[in-house]
Every structure is written in C-alpha cells, then in structure tokens.
Amino acid sequence: MEQNTGKIIVKNLNAYFGDNHVLKNINITFPEKKVTAVIGPSGCGKSTLIRCINRMHEVVLNARVEGEIFLDGENIYPKYIKDVEPIEIRRKVGMVFQRPNPFPTLSIYDNVAAGLKLNGVRNKTLLDEIVVNSLKDAGLWKEVEHKLNHSGVSLSGGQQQRLCIARALAVKPEVVLFDEPCSALDPISTAKIEELMFKLKEKHTIIIVTHNIPQAGRVSDYTAFLYLGDLIEFDKTEKLLTMPTNKMTEKYLTGKFG
C-alpha cells in the first residue's frame, strides 16, 4: 500500500441496527490525504461504515457497534467507551450528507461559522477569515461574496451542498466523509463538487460513499467494494474498476446485479 500511512484503520468492525447485522467483520485501512470511494449496491452498509468513523452510527436508536477504529493510532471505540468523546471525534472528522442540510434559520455566514461558534471562537476577525477561506475552499466564495447575510436556503441545491462542505471545512477537520453528496444534485453541480475533491485531498483525507461507479472512477484513488455487509474487495481505484480480482466485484461493475 505504498508508503502512505493509514489515517484510519478499521479492525474487525461489526455494526448492527437492532438484530440487523449490517457490517460484518470489516477490516480496512484508509490512506492519508487520498480520496477513497466506498461503492456497493444500496443497503450494503456503505453509509453505516462511514457513520461509524465519526461515531454517528450510534445516535440512531438501537444501533450498536463492535470492533475498533483507529484514527491517527487512537482507538475511537475503546473498551470504556466513555473514554473517548464523540464530540472530539466529530470535530476531527467532518461530514457532508446526502441531502444538503444547511440550517434554514441561519445566514450563509452563520452556517459556516456555526461549528466555530460552538467551539467558543468569538474573535470576529478570526471568524471572518475562516469563513472566507472555507467558502473559498468549497468553491462557493465568488457566488455568495455579496450575500453572506442571506439565508442558507436561498441558494440552489448545488450551492447549498457546497455551503455544507464549507460548514464542515470551517472546523478544520482532518478527515471529511461524503455520504453520496451528489445524489440529489444536477450534473453541473455534481461536476463542481467532484472538482473540489481534488483540491480538498491536498489537506484532507477523504472518504466518499457513492453508488455511481463512474464517479468513483473520476474522483478516487482507492475504492472499497461492499456487498451485504461484507468488504469484498479493496484496491487502487484504477485496478479495482478495470481488473477486479473478485468475481462479485466484476459482476457488480458490469451491472449484473444491484
């Protein structure tokens, strides 16, 4: 796996919804400052996998996690689960959701500043600086420069999604999780967000869940294929998409199921 260090190492991870065993003994290493795509048919557990990484899986009723995930070498599911604060994990691991979900009552500026304000950043110049930089990083700055005090929901769907990306970036996460970020967007907005990924991986480790195989091919360096809760194959994207070693992967890529 080259010399690249593993930013996130998942060991023997099992996840459940009630009696439903949705992730089965997953072992995977996500390399640092690369884009890793997680693909697979719907219901295969790909969203659950990334929601385990920022401890968001457990907020769903009856949801349960077993196993270990190491973030920079630190286990985020230690034996005494209270030893690790999910809030700290979520600051390090940002997330962008399937549907754009800006806070409708907040302005564009306040949406981006929301996470910082929670962390007690009150310094106006510092806030301004981070908000502007985050919006620039999210490729939205030019479009909203003159209407920062408008409501976040006044934007188009694609702009809203980039606003959500800026909001996630503002707290300076090391990892950003994307949960099918383009599934509710038009092709042009999708292209903009894919472009963004290239820039983002200079500073961040990125994991993107997608059901769109060509998208995985366009944006990712590595790809993991999940099927019914099992990790079937994990490899460099160009290899996995063109010469999969596993029969099931091949079947999925050629559209035989899912």
């Binding site: 604060e85 809030i87 700290e88 929670l118 962390n119 007690g120």
Partner: protein
C-alpha cells in the same frame, strides 16, 4: 473548554427531565386529594339523595349527577348530528371558499372562552324566556362541542381513501349511500373518539352553565326550568363556608373526575382498536 460544554449539555438534559417530573407533582397531588377526600363521603346516600340544608346529614348529589347526564345528553342530541353533517360537508364538498370560511369560523369558535358562549346562550334563551333553563344550558354546551367534533369528523372522513368511494360509485351506489354506509362506517372509530373526548370536556364545563342552567337544589321540572349539574354544584359547595358542603364538593369532584377519565379512557380504547381491524 469541551468539559464546560459537556457539563452544560448534561445540566440542560437533566433539567428537561426535571420539568416533566415537576409537572407530574400537581397531577399526582390532585389525584391523591380528590380520591382521599372524596372517598370518605361517598356512599349510597350520596348517589340517591337530594342536597340537604347545612347541618343535616345524608345529603347527596343525585339531582346534580342526573342533571349533568341530562345536559350532556341533550347537548349531544342536537350538536353531534350538526357537527357530523357539517364535517362531512367540509370533507366531501368543502374545497371551496365557503368551506374555508366555515373551517376558519369553527377554529375561531373553538378558541373562545366558554363563559362567552354562556353569555350568548343567555341572550338567546334566558332573556326571551325570562327564566334560567335546561334548554339554554344544553344550547351552550352544544356550541362548545360543535367545532371540535366537526373538525375531527372532517379529518376522519378525509382519511378514507378515495378508492373506496370510487369502488362504491362504480357499483352504481348513490353518493348518499356511499357516504353513509361506506365512508362514515370506515371513519366511525375516529369520529366516536372525537365525540367522546368532546363529551368528556363538556361534562366538566361550569362557566357556561352559571347563568343558563343555573343550578337547582331539587329535581328538574322540565326543559324550561333550571337544572342542577355536577360541576356547578361542586363550585357552589366549594365556595360555601360550610365544612359539610366542602366534603360533599370533594365527593362530587371524585365522581366528576371518574366520569371524565372513564370517557377519555374509552375514547382512547376506540382509537387504539381502530388500528386492529
């Protein structure tokens, strides 16, 4: 920093639970007092006898209990058909301006204080008849029933899927028969729930009866004469200076609360059984 935020969060979370617990204190206290103070005086006399003057033992509230039943019965007789027909109209034909206006007025009517309804019934019945009367009380209580029963009927009828109506029309069954034997039958449980909740509410109403039904120490003599009612009697006894009457008031409160909760409970049961067809 983070510890402070965590502590604030914990404190706020805990205080929401405290809010719920604090609110249960008056509920429990009311129950305990009504039961413990009410039960001592409840016996056969209480249900069989008329009120006695202060100091004479053995007085009861028979006339008030029967009076409440009569008032609730009479108001139901006129208000329920009006509400159900009105509700059916709103649901089946009411997607127009008239429907909107009526819906709006029903909402307004449901929000006005019940004492104002009492004034209305006073002007309409008591002034021309020059006497407090059973009928004016039943009129006032009926008006309080109408908005809620009408709106719940509308909602329940709207919930009946259109496919059922179409199936019936396709068989050549008239709109009238479709509404009565298919739509209303399907919506029955929900409507009954609404009716019972509303009965429970008017059974406890006092304010609109103060100057309509007025109250009566004896048996009611007809529609155009004053009539006793349980909540009214409780009010009069509770505000009196006599220990004896206070005891009677607590017993009356126990009977009233039982009646009201029984009705609410039954309505909840119909509501639940609806989903187990």
């Amino acid at each position: 920093m983070s510890i402070k935020r965590k502590i604030i969060s914990k404190i706020m979370m805990t205080s929401t639970l405290l809010c719920a617990l604090v609110t249960l204190i008056p509920l429990i206290s009311i129950f305990l007092y009504v039961i413990s103070k009410g039960i001592t005086n409840i016996n056969l006399d209480f249900f069989m006898n008329l009120p006695k003057p202060v100091g004479e033992p053995g007085g009861g509230m028979s006339n008030a209990i029967v009076g409440s039943l009569i008032l609730v019965g009479l108001s139901s007789i006129w208000a329920i058909p009006v509400s159900i027909l009105g509700g059916v109209y709103l649901a089946e034909y009411g997607n127009n301006k008239l429907g909107t206006i009526i819906r709006f007025l029903a909402d307004v009517l449901s929000g006005i204080p019940s004492i104002v309804v009492g004034i209305f019934a006073y002007v309409v019945f008591v002034l021309p008849m020059k006497t407090f009367s059973t009928i004016s009380g039943a009129f006032a209580l009926g008006i309080i029933m109408i908005p809620s029963v009408m709106r719940i009927t509308e909602e329940m009828v709207r919930m009946v899927p259109n496919t059922l109506r179409e199936a019936s029309w396709a068989l050549g069954i008239s709109q009238f028969r479709t509404t009565v034997s298919i739509v209303l039958k399907t919506a029955k449980a929900g409507i009954i729930t609404g009716v019972m909740l509303s009965i429970a509410r008017i059974a406890g109403e006092t304010a609109p009866l103060l100057f309509t039904a007025f109250g009566n120490r004896f048996w009611n003599q007809g529609l155009n004469t004053p009539i006793a009612s349980l909540p009214l009697q409780i009010f009069v006894y509770a505000m009196s200076p006599f220990e004896d009457w206070h005891k009677q008031a607590w017993s009356g409160a126990l009977v009233l609360i039982m009646l009201v909760f029984l009705t609410s409970y039954l309505s909840r049961r119909t509501m639940k059984s609806r989903y187990k067809i």
